[in-house]
Amino acid sequence: MRPLEDVKILDFTHVLAGPFGTRVLADMGADVVKIMSAVRETARTQQDSPYYLMWNRNKRSLALDMRREESRELARRLADEADVVMDNFSPGVLDRWNVGYEIVSETNPGVIYVQMSGMGATGPWSDFVTYAPTVHGLGGLTHLTGVPGRGDIGIGYSYNDHQAGLHGAVAVLAALEGRRSTGRGQRVDLSQFEVGVNFAGLALLDWFGNGRSASPVTNREPYDNNAPHGCYPCAGAASDALVDERWVAIACMSDDQWRRFRDVLGDPEWARDPALATVQGRSEAADMLDQRIAEWTRRLTAEVVMERCQAAGVPAGVVQTGLDLCERDPQLKLSGFLAEIEEAHPITGRTYADRLPIYFERTSCDEYRPAPVVGQHNAEVLSEWLGMSEEEVRRGEEAGYLR
């Protein structure tokens, strides 16, 4: 048994952030029913797209054409049965479909209603359109992640989409615990922008407290000055192409680790400079250290550098690409973290899962089903949630509102 098998979630989310949040809850056993529609071109054409397949496993699909009154009525009835309704449409869309919080909570006072909009339900920017890089830019993360003088780098993937989804899952679970205490559900206004600004928290406290404006620091530490601390080029590239470069991260977090690292380097003359014995001295000489270390790492593979450093008690790790994670990483192999989903997807056949990175000892979450196609579970969902017969469902599909 999985920990959330008693939880029913009506899922109106799309793209990444919302689906990632409901994916985690589905992995933990919640019955997540994803509302989709074949009349929307994006749903129809993307139901077998890699992006959709990545974030929607373990869910069931119910097709509703929300332009139709019959579909809205069904959505209303489903919402009455749900513990949780989640959406990441712009504020107001679900209200227009008559499944907004005010309406649903009248008949289902225990409902937990999480709205994961880009900017939140209120405020002058509440109708702004956002993707993760929008939030990274406006929230300071793009400015802070990079090299001095460049504001156009930022994080190389949609970090905040994942985090907004995970914070949505936290909100659901916290509200379920709150409902246990109070007997009431509630509405949660989750602004993906506010989730994102939260990640610049340290820089913001430093600004408000000290008036210091943080700048990008390449791979140095922004505050604690440990050195050496960076990514260094290594030997072993399969070609001269950027994609094949090999790098290793090394971080000496204490004087003791520096002394150990000096031994790994072979105790060269330059490293014996007494000024380097302290964090302060190494921090002041960080450029020189980076240059010397790079001269050393260029002669070795990233794996050799990592193994030698770690054997000596010095933190170091290969800068792993997707290929490394999927083919070479011994930890992920051992845990089976990356795996093909056994059950074939109705359209694409093979699909894959990075498993839930949470290992419950007594409620193991090791069931993985592929992402559903539009309306794949119409009959079973409507039967289980609303007691509808197969005949009723067939009629709805023929009439077009269950598609």
């Binding site: 780098i153 985090q163 709150g178 206004d189 600004v197 922004p222 990514c231 800068v319 498993r355 949470i358």
Partner: protein, 390 residues
């Protein structure tokens, strides 16, 4: 009807985390759980992490600690003494959840095993860097190393920079939020089934789970028209779709995309006489879809380079486009939308910081007062029934 306490008001948590899990404890504490963080009498080592609030009469205060250890109660315990160990055990015995990281203060395996055998309904969430077994099990992995091995560093950066680590503690905030989910998921089960359990969260997998295109690219690159191999190189601010990019304007940088309304973007470029050959009928051919995307983005880069970024961002949004200006920290602090939502909150009497990542309608989120070393020792010991004679 509103409650004055958070949704986790009935949850008691012991926080034995370090950097890898402390964000999870923060999430629970700020949501109203009673989270007690034991620390040695000389103070939590994380109280030494920067940045610090410099101008204070009692010496620097760690803003790192004030942020990540918010809303906690602090218990000073001497784990070299029998009494201190008994105090910590007694604290754990009245908790619903223990959060711990391998090797952190008070997180000895024997202690947790004993607690679980005394109280089967207890939830213990254990965070490790790489898992409980395997060749990297004991590898040291501070933030940059964890990010590198977890796959988060390789896609960040540009052709003329090294791979880049994300600012601050972003990788450990990823593992931290999974810690909160693990704790609340197991607590939910324990509430209804009276069965607790041990839950393990490996940081390495948490980081690898949040990389958007990276795993997708490896698994499905043969189905992605823009992919030419299993790995996408680091490419600055250009998104894997080729249709989103952080671009340089005349006075700064701005994230620009024709999504989600390509027609609106094209109309705007036409108005600005910057559309070039985008009307060429060849782009109507679905086979040229990718070429069209590249052509649009090239036009946008040329056009954005001639524009000031703030008005461009605002007009983009007014036209339904997901533009976003790249702003420094002080710009975030001055954001009018956050001000209108009264979002900021106080972490210290003179220091504001981020407010709630989610607003609950009935049970408020709030930051509790920040305490010195062992500030709540007397109250906590009294609650666990510890008397002076003991």
């Amino acid at each position: 009807m509103s409650d004055t306490r958070g949704p986790l008001q009935d949850a008691r948590v012991v926080d034995l985390t370090d950097e890898r899990g402390i964000y999870g404890a923060k999430l629970l504490a700020d949501l109203g759980a009673d989270v007690v963080r034991p620390e040695p009498s000389e103070g939590d080592a994380l109280r030494r992490r920067g940045p610090h609030l410099e101008d204070t009469p009692d010496g620097p205060t760690s803003l790192w600690h004030a942020f990540f250890a918010s809303s906690r109660r602090f218990l000073s315990v001497d784990l070299d003494s029998e009494a201190g160990n008994a105090q910590l055990d007694a604290l754990i015995d009245r908790a619903h959840v223990v959060l711990c990281c391998t090797g952190a203060f008070g997180a000895e395996q024997e202690r947790l095993d004993a607690a679980l055998s005394r109280r089967p309904e207890l939830v213990v969430v254990e965070v490790s860097s790489f898992g409980k077994e395997g060749p990297w099990r004991d590898y040291l992995a501070p933030h940059i190393v964890a990010g590198a091995l977890g796959g988060a560093v390789a896609p960040t950066g540009d052709a003329d920079t090294p791979p880049l680590n994300a600012f601050g503690e972003l990788h450990f905030m990823m593992s931290g939020v999974y810690v909160a989910i693990a704790a609340l998921g197991a607590l939910h089960f324990a509430r209804f089934r009276k069965i607790g359990q041990r839950v393990h969260v490996p940081v390495h997998e948490c980081i690898a789970s949040g990389l958007e295109q990276v795993l997708m690219w490896y698994w499905y690159h043969d189905r992605l028209p823009m992919a030419n191999g299993p790995v996408l190189e680091r490419r600055g601010g250009l998104h894997w779709t080729n249709a989103f990019q952080t671009m340089r304007g005349r006075d700064g940088c701005v994230f620009v995309t024709p999504a989600p309304n390509r027609d609106a973007q094209l109309a705007w470029l036409i108005e600005e006489d910057a559309a070039g050959d985008l009307w060429d009928p060849k782009y109507q051919d679905p086979a040229n879809r990718e070429a069209f995307t590249l052509a649009v983005m090239q036009r946008l880069r040329e056009w954005v380079a001639t524009r000031d970024v703030e008005p461009l961002f605002k007009e983009g949004q007014a036209r339904g486009l997901a533009y976003g200006q790249v702003v420094p920290v002080e710009g975030v602090a001055d954001n009018p939308h956050l001000a209108a939502r009264e979002w900021w909150t106080d972490y210290l009497p003179t220091v504001r910081g981020p407010g709630a990542p989610y607003a609950f309608s009935d049970t408020p989120w709030k930051i509790g007062p920040y305490g010195d070393v062992g500030a709540d020792t007397e109250a906590v010991l009294s609650e666990i029934g510890w008397t002076e004679s003991q």
